[in-house]
């Protein structure tokens, strides 16, 4: 079956948008084709600096025929209704049939649409898809035309089975030509099919597939680094970005001048990555950053890239001179002396300046330090200095180095090592893959920093919404959760209301990955008095293990049965059963047994919970399974005699209350 090829050729597409645009193009095209009854064998989408490409394999040459019957107005309906129906169907009155229905005689239109040729359908779809493609940011460029594309569009290549699919978008008519590399190729290239296309582009110095470009870059960097006894420092984000900046990637190696090598590696690396998109290299033996970098050009030159490397080295020297200047200047003033300057930096309109924030964090860090056994003086000192690097030149230039620079400056000021580390690590974890701080002083400041942000923003009414979390509060809450759990820290969060619910939600997300059931977290959380996450998780985990056991599953079933009966009867009686079970009214042996078992369990569960021996608490619950099962087998709850019935209901309520000591079983699914 024939193939379809589409290429949308424009001026340079931002690297960050390319891959997403190709995916959107594929998604929209697939949707429209299937809506029109077209199935195909395969589809591939490609993106690069100047083009989006879609290749569809095995697309039928013709659409299937469609027969459609449409019911119209009754024959005695007003003329206007009939006119409307004729207009809608595009038929004349004598082409309509009359059909007798229970509601009377109605007009019927039979529309038979002959399947149309694929190129005709494609010609209609292409402009529609292009109009719908959701660029994150797009522009107008045609006078008097509201049409948008990411940058001016230059050509549309559209062929089906080797022939041009006629269509137009933004006044540009489709054709069968494209262009190669901007500098390494000239003139138009005529293309009929995907196979010619990919090969012709390669000849014209364009690697079509972004994944292939990334692989070329990654391999070349590795090889060139290896030849120098070095290895690249992995940077997936950068690799994806530079793959979108070159149609014909060429890796070249440049040298960093010695005078910059005593500047902290993080500064060099950040400057090279953010400003210049260079890869850093390191010595695999020592792990130390090397005085070489890898750059990815989009050009092959006669001189083997000599001028390009020289030019890039020159640019880098200017960049690093700037960075080094800041680094040297910054160290002329101590971090301590910079704290005052935080008065001039607004943290948030409703939450005051960074200085005020530091004052709060300092106090909080001291309190937390006392509770978790960290050095209070050091924690307060670290908190005091934690934000001071925001006033430095390096952090002004590279905000992502906040904390990292603070540590360097703290070390330079001869601050205590734990203090310096905490200045850096209090931002941690900065993402799901980042490690949490493990030193107590760092932990105290990290918790204080995040708790202050959370309580502050929640109090100011700046809660995250479904679509937005501008202050990264989810990350902050998750950070706190991870710090506490991974360090097994016993520390009451001392939060309530919305914020506690927010934590519960974050906790569910965090534990979901570990296979912990979210309903069990709810069940424990909804007891309402648990803000010690370590204890909470231990309880949830014990509960989950228990429910997996035979006893647990059966007890849960028994609980549900009891709860359902109670619910129905409580509704009927319009009251809640909470009274004492009267032993004297118990007659059946199985209800006596359950009463005894409950008495024993209730007495044992409480101290077990208090000792945080959750396994023991679960064991006590397990002991209830047999008497519960026996009770339901041998006893009719709704006895005729009122007193007996109420007593039995109170017995079930006692079961419910006993289990609710451990968790709210009504929240447990299954």
């Amino acid at each position: 079956m024939p193939d379809f090829l589409l290429e949308l050729f424009s001026e340079e597409i931002p690297a960050r948008m390319q891959v997403g645009a190709a995916k959107d193009l594929e998604r929209l095209m697939v949707g429209m084709l299937t809506d029109r009854g077209f199935l195909f064998e395969g589809i591939k989408a490609f993106s690069g600096p100047r083009r989006l490409t879609l290749a569809i394999m095995g697309l039928p040459a013709e659409q299937k025929d469609v027969r459609e019957e449409l019911k119209g107005p009754r024959v005695d309906a007003p003329q206007a209704a009939l006119d409307g129906f004729l207009k809608k169907t595009g038929l004349t009155k004598d082409q309509l049939k009359v059909e007798t229905t229970p509601k009377g005689d109605v007009y019927m239109a039979v529309i038979e649409r002959k399947g149309r040729a694929a190129p005709l359908v494609l010609g209609e779809i292409i402009p529609e898809v292009m109009g719908k493609l959701p660029w994150p940011k797009s522009m107008r460029w045609k006078a008097g035309d509201p049409v948008r594309w990411v940058r001016p569009l230059h050509s549309i290549l559209a062929t089906f089975d080797g022939e041009v699919v006629p269509c137009a978008f933004a006044g540009i008519k489709s054709g069968n030509t494209t262009r190669g590399h901007r500098f390494l190729s000239s003139g138009e290239i005529v293309v009929r099919r995907f196979e010619d296309y990919e090969a012709a582009l390669k000849k014209a110095h364009v690697v079509l597939d972004a994944a292939e470009r990334a692989e070329i870059i990654s391999n070349d960097i590795k090889q060139k680094a290896f030849a120098l006894g070095l290895e690249p420092i992995d940077d997936v984000g950068l690799l994806a970005e530079v793959s979108g900046l070159a149609e014909w990637p060429v890796v070249l190696i440049g040298t960093i001048q010695d005078e910059f090598m005593d500047v902290p590696a993080e500064i060099l690396q950040t400057s090279m990555r953010t400003h210049q998109k260079y890869f850093s290299l390191r010595d695999p033996k020592t792990g130390k950053m090397a005085n070489r970098f890898a750059l990815v050009a989009n050009m092959l030159t006669k001189d083997g890239g000599k001028e390009i490397v020289a030019g890039n080295e020159r640019v880098l020297r200017a960049r690093l001179s700037d960075a080094k200047f800041f680094w040297d200047e910054d160290r002329k003033h101590s971090l301590d002396s910079r704290v005052e300057k935080l008065r001039g930096i607004v943290f948030h309109a409703k939450l005051g300046t960074q200085f005020e924030r530091v004052e709060r964090i300092e106090k909080l860090a001291g309190d937390i330090a006392a509770k978790i056994g960290a050095d209070v003086t050091k924690a307060k000192r670290a908190a005091h200095l934690a934000k001071a690097d925001l006033t430095t030149g390096v952090v002004g230039e590279f905000p992502e180095l906040q904390g990292v620079m603070g540590r360097y400056y703290a070390q330079h000021d001869k601050e205590d090592a734990a203090v310096a580390d905490a200045v850096r690590d209090h931002y941690k974890p900065v993402g799901p893959s980042d490690a949490v701080p493990t030193e107590k002083v760092s932990i105290a400041v990290a918790l204080a920093d995040k708790l202050d942000a959370l309580t502050g923003f929640f109090a100011a009414g700046e809660k995250p919404t479904g679509s937005g979390d501008p202050f990264a509060l989810r990350r902050a809450a998750l950070g706190i959760i991870r710090i506490l759990l991974e360090n097994k820290l016993r520390f009451p969060l001392a939060v309530s209301g919305d914020l506690l619910t927010f934590f519960a939600d974050r906790l569910k997300v965090a534990l979901k990955e570990k296979g912990v059931r979210h309903d069990l977290i709810d069940a424990v959380f909804s007891l309402g008095h648990e803000d010690d996450l370590v204890r909470l998780v231990a309880r949830v985990e014990a509960l989950q293990a228990f429910l997996k056991s035979d006893d647990g599953a059966n007890l849960l079933a028994g609980y549900k049965r009891a709860a359902n009966i109670l619910k129905a009867e409580e509704k009927k009686d319009n009251k809640t059963f909470t009274s004492e079970v009267l032993e004297g009214h118990l007659s059946e042996s199985s209800e006596k047994a359950l009463f005894a078992a409950l008495g024993k369990a209730k007495g044992a569960i409480k101290p077990a919970l208090e000792k945080e021996d959750f396994a023991a608490a679960m064991q006590q619950m397990a002991a209830l399974r047999t008497p519960v099962d026996a009770f339901f087998d041998g006893v009719k709850v709704n006895a005729d005699e009122k007193q007996v019935r109420e007593n039995r209901l109170n017995l079930l309520a006692s079961l419910r209350a006993t289990l609710h000591q451990v968790a709210d079983f009504s929240r447990i699914e299954g």
Partner: protein
């Protein structure tokens, strides 16, 4: 394709290149401004339906970039070369690359790239999409398709090409310290501008009288507003907007404007720019219906 060996060669080459490609060669605007975009030949002419092709050098002042003549490439006064093409021709990237060849940068030996960089001027209420053009990792040009100026949609869309002349010259001349640039065969850039940088850095950061500047700002704002009431005078009003903007930049460099105030000041300048742009669209040269007598209209 001889290299533009001196700073003034570079300017002359660009002037003749863009003149050959149909641009009016205008002169710098005689007001202090932060960038060539403030030149009325860009801000105002970018609006309205009339075609417009112009190129000019614009001295640009960024008071807070002063480094007392000690930084290798940062200047509080420097030159921009600006080209404005309306409507943007379909081959505008090719035209631009032609100018790069003309000044002696051979794209076959270098790595020329168009890297995403959307431009926005909060003070002018202007925004556009485009790139910074890289030559071997060095940003040599800002390339923008204007979408909006003074809060008004541009139609037709124009292309704005802005070369940072000193930076470009440093690249062409292979010089690392801006003051070492050959201005012509006889003078170095430092001989022309080093003292200027020293003195103006001191003025910008230490000596500029902030009370006077605040008053300048207020006066300019007031005069601008007045010129836009009654019989509107869009061009003189826009002059006042430029003056207000520069007064703000100086105050900012003096460090007397707090973060929150900063946004408010920018908003005030933007409001002036917007009002000027709206007034401009009511004038003969800005209006949709050409009222200025010219041959085409007959």
């Amino acid at each position: 394709m001889a290299k533009a060996r001196t700073f003034q060669d570079l300017i002359l080459t660009l002037q003749s290149y863009w003149a050959q490609h149909g641009c009016l060669i205008l002169q710098p605007y005689d007001d202090q401004m932060g960038a060539g975009t403030f030149h009325p030949a860009t801000t105002l002419r970018a609006l309205g339906p009339r075609p417009w092709n112009a190129a000019f050098v614009q001295p640009s002042r960024r008071p807070s970039d002063g480094r007392y003549g000690e930084n290798p490439n940062r200047l509080q006064h420097y030159y921009q070369y600006q080209v404005i093409l309306k409507p943007a021709p379909a081959n505008v990237q090719e035209l631009y690359l032609g100018s790069i060849r003309a000044i002696g940068l051979d794209p076959d030996l270098h790595d020329i790239r168009f890297v995403e960089d959307d431009w926005e001027s909060p003070t002018l209420g202007a925004a556009g999409l485009g790139w910074e053009v890289w030559c071997d990792g060095m940003e040599i040009t800002q390339f923008t398709y204007f979408q909006q100026v003074g809060g008004i949609e541009c139609d037709p869309v124009c292309a704005e090409i802005t070369y940072g002349l000193e930076r470009l010259a440093m690249y062409v001349q292979n010089v690392e310290f801006v003051y070492d640039l050959a201005f012509n065969e006889q003078f170095r850039y430092g001989e022309v501008f080093h003292q200027n940088e020293q003195e103006f850095s001191a003025y910008n950061f230490e000596r500029a009288d902030t009370e006077i500047l605040f008053q300048h700002f207020k006066d300019a704002e007031k005069q601008c507003r007045e010129l836009l009431t009654g019989k509107k005078l869009a061009l003189p009003a826009y002059d006042q907007c430029i003056k207000a903007s520069h007064a703000f930049n100086l105050l900012d460099a003096r460090g007397v404007i707090s973060v929150t105030e900063r946004a408010a000041y920018i908003g005030r300048v933007r409001a002036l720019a917007q009002a000027c742009c709206e007034a401009w669209l009511e004038t003969p040269m800005g209006a949709y219906t050409p009222r200025y007598p010219s041959k085409e209209v007959g």
